[in-house]
């Protein structure tokens, strides 16, 4: 997809406002998944604003966000980075055959204690 169209799509899906970003980096400062991410929250915002979206779609980073909303609540500009990350992930997993998690993967991931909640959440986040 054309990058500008893709950018608009992401903004539409997320309802977030990358244009309001002032590049303070507080989202990345507060992110608990920072170390696991190749692209960090502030980069998501900046890259989407610049239409540089392809690398994000192909990055594992989109599965590392915990949707803990720390970046959303602490952003001084009301940008809502987590919603942008989710939008990128959705654009990726909504593609045919692009589910990040399948039912077959589950058994080996389970242990005795793991709550159902974790499974349904992961499915919500990783598959379509």
């Amino acid at each position: 997809m054309d990058n500008n169209l893709l950018k608009e799509e992401l903004i539409r899906i997320s309802g977030a406002k990358p244009v309001k970003c002032m590049s303070c980096g507080k989202c990345s400062a507060t992110c608990p998944a920072y170390e696991q991410m190749e692209y960090h929250p502030h980069q998501f915002v900046n890259m989407i604003a610049n239409g540089d979206i392809e690398p994000l779609l192909n990055s594992k980073s989109i599965y590392k966000c915990l949707t803990c909303f720390a970046c959303v609540d602490r952003c001084p500009r009301g940008v809502e980075p987590a919603k942008l990350v989710e939008a990128v992930r959705l654009v990726s997993v909504r593609k045919q055959g692009n589910n990040h998690l399948t039912a077959n993967d589950i058994p080996q991931l389970l242990d005795e204690e793991i709550p159902q909640q974790a499974l349904v959440s992961a499915f919500r986040k990783y598959t379509k």
Partner: protein, 664 residues
């Protein structure tokens, strides 16, 4: 019938870019009363004004319509032009075809069409204009300065030096304001007290200046040149003229655990107190909420130890009424509450402090006598993290903080960082910044020195979370230039809290009928050309009440405000606004409706004898407007059932003519 000249301004391309000015001039030529029509690049320029003057003479014009920018901008200019041409200045009407037309509409056809209609409305109004002569009112040659910080002090001194009496109303027990709390000042690092306290003494000793400390403005009525102000002098339970400021009472007061406001609660004071050694006036004040004698009638020690006999537990609040010609607002600022930013743990750890608290910690007169010790355990901090822009530059949709840049934080943080490194070279100092903003004389050089000569570590990025753990503050932040998330174990975290106008400003603005912006900063009469005047005549602005400012800027503005006040007070008489209400006595019923809605008490009644057509006489009660008191709001004109009351300059038939022209 009027002979009207229409002058259409291009305002360069500001108007001409979206409005076909020639077509407007052409179209208005055919309006009733119009005998001359022209257009020109800059109507407000000397050449443009001359053009008007020439046209008035040549075409014997009786009225002028200028199609240009907002009347709030140049109505006064063109009235003067008319006067120069020998016309009554109130025979001018402005059609606002810039702010309300060319700047808000995009295409030429629409803009032109609307400009013509606005022009027609103005022509219709001028057709009904009548020459008006302003009344005169005397000027009370005394100024009131509200707020006794550096802004108020400077303004008061300048006005007093010009020979006019000035009263300062300060809500705290002493003048001095925020500057008195500061340690050093950027970029020259003078000690704040060293440069402020002599000025405070000057104020105290100046024969033209009176200080009402521990006082508030209760009520303001009147108008420019003639304000009536009620000042509430709160009871301090100490006779000001008797107290010598010896401090014996303070020493002996048994109530010693009251958080000390001057040190931002970082240490305690007594119930009877003098805020700081150089306080002006240097008199004690009893905190009624803390004093056992006042609350329960048990104690009275201060009274016993006071050799001067200054203590008076029965003192009551006192209302002082005074007349002023001008009022200067200098209510200043405060750091915002950090409650909505507790990811920085301000409410969770004593060692997370604001920059103003840091000032007190490094001030020789502060709670630690100038030694940099952390509040929790009074140990010397080795790693200090400064966080910039806390609560500043927040988008409104984030629903916390302020949208504006607080302007002073970059510089004072550089100062704090530099001084810390200077005094304690063993400390690591980090400054997290989004941008470093240093537009000021010697400002950027100052900031660079902090980095280059003092080794302050500036990191571009923001702190995301501060977690107190044991004796450390775990700071998690981003380093954007290195694309890293970094974690620092800090001993002290200093937050550059956004600043906001003092809370007293909003109710004061209401009393003064002065306008404010959405952030509660006072609005200027014009953002560029009249920056120290409020739109309310006779009310002037000094210091941070108008917007964030550092000390040099505050002092310049304070002096500028003083100059404006002096310019007003040297006048013996002021020309009033002739656009005031007038009652047609033949039509007046004497019903009192107008009197009841008049906010100024400008309407009175008298019994007047009328000769009737049948040669009898009839005595009727009729309304009279005092033109010196009337401010021209027009509330009475609508309250009047018969239409006897009308407003000059905005008369019923004029407004209806405008309506008709627009709806044609």
């Amino acid at each position: 019938m009027q002979r009207i000249g229409v002058f259409v301004c291009w305002c360069g391309s500001n108007i001409a870019g979206t409005v076909d000015v020639k077509a407007v001039a052409e179209a208005l030529k055919n309006e009733p009363g119009v005998v001359y029509s022209a257009n020109y690049q800059y109507m407000c320029s000397q050449a443009g004004q001359n053009m008007i003057i020439e046209a008035v003479k040549e075409h014997k014009l009786t009225g002028i319509v200028v199609c240009s920018c907002s009347p709030r901008m140049h109505e006064a200019t063109f009235r003067k032009t008319a006067e120069a041409a020998g016309l009554n200045p109130y025979m001018v009407e402005i059609a606002n075809i810039r702010e309300q037309c060319s700047w808000v509409h995009k295409d030429m056809a629409t803009g032109t069409e609307k400009a013509i209609i606005l022009g027609k409305a103005a022509v219709a109004k001028v057709n009904l204009n009548a020459p008006l002569t302003p009344g005169e009112s005397p000027v009370t040659k005394r100024a009131l300065v509200i707020g006794g910080g550096i802004a108020g002090i400077q303004t008061a001194l300048d006005i007093a030096e010009a020979g006019f009496p000035v009263d300062i109303v300060e809500k705290n027990p002493t003048i001095g304001g925020k500057m008195a709390q500061l340690d050093k000042t950027f970029p020259t690092l003078d000690c704040a007290a060293c440069i402020l306290t002599p000025k405070m003494v000057d104020v105290a000793q100046h024969e033209k200046i009176r200080i009402f400390s521990y006082s508030e403005v209760e009520d303001v009525t009147g108008f420019v040149g003639n304000f009536d102000v009620k000042i509430k002098k709160r009871a301090r339970f100490v006779k000001e003229d008797v107290c010598t400021g010896c401090g014996a009472c303070v020493e002996k007061c048994p109530m010693k655990k009251i958080p000390n406001e001057f040190n931002l609660g970082m240490n305690n004071r007594t119930a009877i107190y003098i805020p700081f050694a150089q306080a002006v006036p240097k008199v004690a004040t009893i905190d009624a909420n803390a004093c056992n004698m006042i609350k329960n009638g048990k104690c009275g020690i201060c009274s016993k130890v006071c050799t001067a006999g200054a203590i008076d537990y029965t003192q009551k609040d006192e209302i002082i009424s005074e007349k002023y010609g001008a009022i200067v607002v200098a209510t200043g600022f405060n750091p915002i509450s950090m409650d909505k930013f507790d990811e920085f743990a301000y409410n969770q750890s004593k060692d997370v402090i604001t920059s103003l608290e840091f000032e007190r910690l490094t001030n020789a007169a502060g709670p630690t006598a100038g030694k940099l010790l952390r509040p929790s355990d009074l140990e010397h901090p080795h790693t200090i993290v400064f966080v910039q822009c806390v609560g500043s530059r927040c988008a409104s949709c984030a629903e916390k903080g302020k949208e504006y840049c607080s302007k002073i934080c970059c510089m004072y943080t550089a100062k704090h960082a530099m001084l810390t490194r200077d005094k304690y070279p063993d400390t690591e100092v980090y400054v997290f910044y989004i941008d470093v903003r240093t537009p000021g004389k010697n400002f950027d050089e100052f900031y660079r020195r902090a980095v280059e000569e003092y080794g302050v570590k500036y990191i571009k990025g923001m702190v995301g979370k501060v977690s107190p753990e044991g004796k450390k503050l775990k700071v998690q932040a981003s380093d954007l230039l290195n694309n890293k998330q970094i974690k620092i174990d800090a001993d002290l975290v200093v937050l550059a809290a956004a600043i906001e106008p003092d809370k007293s400003a909003r109710p004061l603005a209401t009393k003064l009928t002065a306008s404010m912006d959405t952030n509660d900063f006072f609005t200027e009469a014009h953002p560029k050309l009249r920056p120290v005047e409020s739109p309310t005549a006779g009310v002037f602005l000094s210091g941070a009440c108008q917007g964030p400012k550092d000390i040099p800027e505050t002092v310049s503005q304070a002096s500028a405000a003083a100059a404006k006040v002096i310019g007003l007070l040297v006048k013996d008489k002021l020309k009033g606004n002739p656009c005031v209400a007038r009652s047609n006595e033949l039509m007046c019923n004497g019903c009192s409706s107008c009197e009841r809605v008049c906010p100024y008490g400008a309407i009175t009644y008298e019994d007047k004898e009328f000769r009737m057509p049948d040669r009898t006489t009839k005595v009727r009660r009729i309304a009279k407007v005092n033109p010196a008191v009337c401010q021209g709001c027009g509330a009475c004109t609508v309250a009047c059932p018969s239409g006897a009351m009308d407003l000059q300059g905005f008369a019923n038939n004029q407004i209806m003519a405008e309506v008709d022209a627009i709806c044609k």
